[in-house]
């Protein structure tokens, strides 16, 4: 049994942030350009059945997020609000892979978890296992992010930071350092150590108060340097749950309107039913196993990206690509596809570097030709990708019919392994065969 004050802070800050994030999304015009405008979408496997919302539907979903966010922040009609927010937010996330961000996934998980936390009753004590589940979910982000940084590109080539940092040479104070390759190494190693140390530092009662300011600085620096949206603020807010209930109450007492006086009478909740604990364990186990599923696949997962998403891999790769799709007609002639007439700029960028989206797009093409033009076609693609400072390489087998492939859990054999370097001249002779 412990005091629920940390959870109250968590829901207040989290609620405020998701309201801000939802409003930012709306006022940036992203409902149109990410949800309504695209001609085709790239839903996550298993969620293709989710209908694409109409304009009314999309605004309803965002209204749901706002109402849910207010209810999370204020604690009024709290559980229903959490559930509404979780469902609306996750629905939108599942519509199109090209908008996937790690922190959106985190927001989904956190709002799901909040549905089960009694974070709206200052007088109620909560069971320790609930708070622990919450803490583990948070440190997991750092732990896996740190683990993912233990790779050759990050540690020994300081990539992608070597590519990114020199662009910030006009950054105040630190700017002049960014032109040195050593700076990228320092940032890389510091980042990896920081991420891996965070779970331990946050759980340690003594290190925490020294570590937290460092954590805030770290996140603010990443926010200033990289276009990562609200992610730093979400983490700064969520990591406050590690502080003691006393500090939380002291903090809120600075604000008269929001203070959390120690309750006169404390209500102890009933002993939790054991299935609830089992549920928490199952939830955490999934969260710990899912991010390491990339171990099932051979080859460099930064390249083929099998098992890459939902794994807390943040700022890990600089990948750029160029894709040229061809429709092969039954008579054998090749017709080049104009990507920009099919895809938004952002989708075009994602399709050019992510194998499963290449396959999905090939299916869109073959569906269109079959259903609208009554033609059976095959789809080939010439895709060139550069990863973390390597020269561009051919990405997928240019002779394979991509529309005959289905995205499954299997190894992506249509992706050409990295460093089997095929030069342009070799490619052209390959093409002639």
């Amino acid at each position: 049994m412990i005091d629920s004050a940390p959870l109250i802070t968590l829901r207040r800050l989290f609620g405020a942030l998701v309201i801000f994030s939802t409003l930012r999304f709306i006022f940036n015009g992203w409902i149109d350009c990410q949800i309504l405008d695209p001609l085709v979408t790239f839903p996550f496997e298993g969620f293709e059945w989710l209908p694409r919302p109409s304009r009314f539907g999309a605004y309803t979903l965002f209204a749901g997020m706002l109402i849910g966010g207010v209810s999370i922040m204020t604690g009024k009609v709290y559980k229903v609000g959490c559930l509404v927010f979780f469902l609306c937010f996750t629905y939108v996330e599942l519509l199109d892979k090209s908008n996937y961000l790690n922190h959106y996934y985190f927001v989904s998980l956190m709002s799901f978890l909040l549905c089960f936390l009694p974070a709206n009753k200052p007088r109620l004590k909560v069971h320790a296992y609930l708070l622990s589940t919450c803490k583990l979910l948070i440190v997991m982000v750092y732990f896996f992010a740190g683990l993912a940084k233990l790779n050759g590109d990050w540690l020994f080539h300081a990539q992608p930071l070597t590519l990114w940092l020199p662009q910030h040479s006009d950054f105040p104070l630190l700017g002049s350092l960014f032109q040195y390759r050593e700076t990228a190494y320092v940032f890389s190693w510091f980042g990896a150590i920081f991420d891996l140390a965070t779970p331990f530092a946050l759980f340690s009662n003594h290190a925490r108060k020294y570590f937290y300011p460092l954590l805030v600085c770290f996140h603010i620096l990443t926010w200033l340097l990289f276009p990562i949206g609200i992610f730093p603020w979400v983490m700064i807010a969520c990591t406050t749950v590690f502080f003691t209930a006393k500090s939380h109450r002291r903090f809120w007492n600075y604000f008269k309107k929001f203070n959390l006086d120690l309750p006169d009478s404390v209500i102890n909740p009933a002993e939790p039913k054991s299935y609830k604990k089992v549920f928490a364990i199952v939830f955490l186990t999934i969260q710990f196993v899912f991010p390491v599923r990339h171990l099932m696949y051979s080859g460099n997962y930064l390249w083929h990206e099998a098992g890459y998403r939902f794994g807390w891999r943040v700022m890990l790769i600089e990948k750029s690509g160029w894709a040229n799709f061809f429709v092969i007609h039954s008579k054998g002639n090749k017709q080049e596809v104009n990507l920009s007439s099919w895809l938004t700029k952002n989708q075009e960028k994602m399709v050019s570097t992510q194998p499963d989206m290449i396959v999905q797009f090939a299916h869109h093409l073959s569906d269109y030709w079959r259903d609208s033009l009554h033609q059976d076609i095959a789809v080939n693609a010439e895709v060139w990708v550069s990863l973390n400072g390597r020269r561009s390489q051919l990405f997928v087998d240019p002779n394979i019919d991509l529309s005959s492939i289905n995205n499954t859990w299997a190894q992506r054999s249509y992706v050409i392994p990295m460093d089997s370097v095929i030069s342009h001249s070799q490619f052209q002779s390959l093409d002639d065969d």
């Binding site: 412990i2 940036n28 350009c33 908008n99 961000l101 790690n102 922190h103 622990s132 590519l163 990114w164 020199p166 662009q167 040479s169 006009d170 032109q179 040195y180 390759r181 050593e182 700076t183 190494y185 320092v186 190693w189 510091f190 331990f200 340690s204 009662n205 003594h206 290190a207 020294y210 460092l214 276009p227 990562i228 609200i230 998403r309 891999r313 943040v314 790769i317 600089e318 990948k319 750029s320 160029w322 007609h329 008579k331 002639n333 090749k334 017709q335 596809v337 938004t344 952002n346 960028k349 010439e382 060139w384 550069s386 400072g389 390597r390 020269r391 561009s392 342009h424 052209q428 093409d431």
Partner: protein, 384 residues
Amino acid sequence: MFIKQIPFLKAERLTSRSAFNVLLTLVFSVTIASCVPDVDDNNSTNFDRSELLNNYSDNIVIPAYEEYVASTNNLLTVINDFALSPADNSKLLTCIEQLKIVSLKWQLASLFDFGPASDYALLEFTNSYPTSTGDIELSIGAENWIAGQASNIDNVGLPALDYLLNEEGAMDKLNANPARVSHLVRQAEFLNEQGELVLETWQSSYQSNFVSMTGTEMGSSIGAILNAFNRVFEANIRKQKLGLPSGVSTFSGNPLPGHVEAKYANYWSIDLLYEALLSIEKVYMGNSSSSNPIDMEGVGFDDYLISLGDEAFGQGLNNDIIAQIQSSKEAVLSLDDPLSEFVLTNQETCLSVYSELQALVVLFKVDMMSSLGVLITYQDNDGD
């Protein structure tokens, strides 16, 4: 709770605190150690982006627009002159010659499709082809012709002038119909106005704006010029000038001879494509416009690339790009005018030249862009 308050943990608490201090000290000293020495080694990527931007704006973009506008001014003059005596065949020939000069000058100017050029849709209004001859014929009779609307895009600009001046029997048609001559004048005026507007905007306000946005994010000057460069090369040069006529996008795979650039002049298409490649080379190298008093090698993407990259990604990539530009130019010279006939008789050759240009797209769009670290983001991004 995971850390319980048990007395014997006290010793451990001390350790965790000191371990943390050690960590901090370590990180701090590594930072200091790595920043103090090697200031002058070649790992430094000290590159003055404002010098690059100044070179582009003052020595390349503005001179390119100046030359282009000077040529459209001349075109307007000779067309006005022709309008006074439309029976004079030599004056028509002067107009045609000048139109070719304008079309050649346009190739360099077309690469800067951002800022003012994109605000005024210069690229679309100047060189969208195939032109709609039906619309041109309709507007010849129109008393009040307002150009510059979305519906005009396919009946104005260089392709419209090409049609009016170079079509079969142009001389007789112009001679017979004064309205046709005055429409020719209106077209030349519009072409000239559009160029002037863009040039004036660059000179009066955009230039200072351009050189001050030294960042590399989306919307910075480097991001803008690079994105336009890549897009125009991929879509307007590679695809439009060669790919579409060669039939890369047709259902049947058959060539589309009607899609060549300057199709009524018939013998300009390859010259224009070659000039476009020369312009691409010039802009990549940051070299100033050729008719400048001094034709100089300025700070360009090549220098930026070399300063940022390592052996393979910097100098090596630059070498490959230069080599690929050369082989693209040579390949283009293997084509013969009129391109509209050549695509029919030698489609295979056209497609192989096309794939040379394609290889250059990859080097620019994938290797160069990721080497320069210009983040192309359209929304939030966490590096996935």
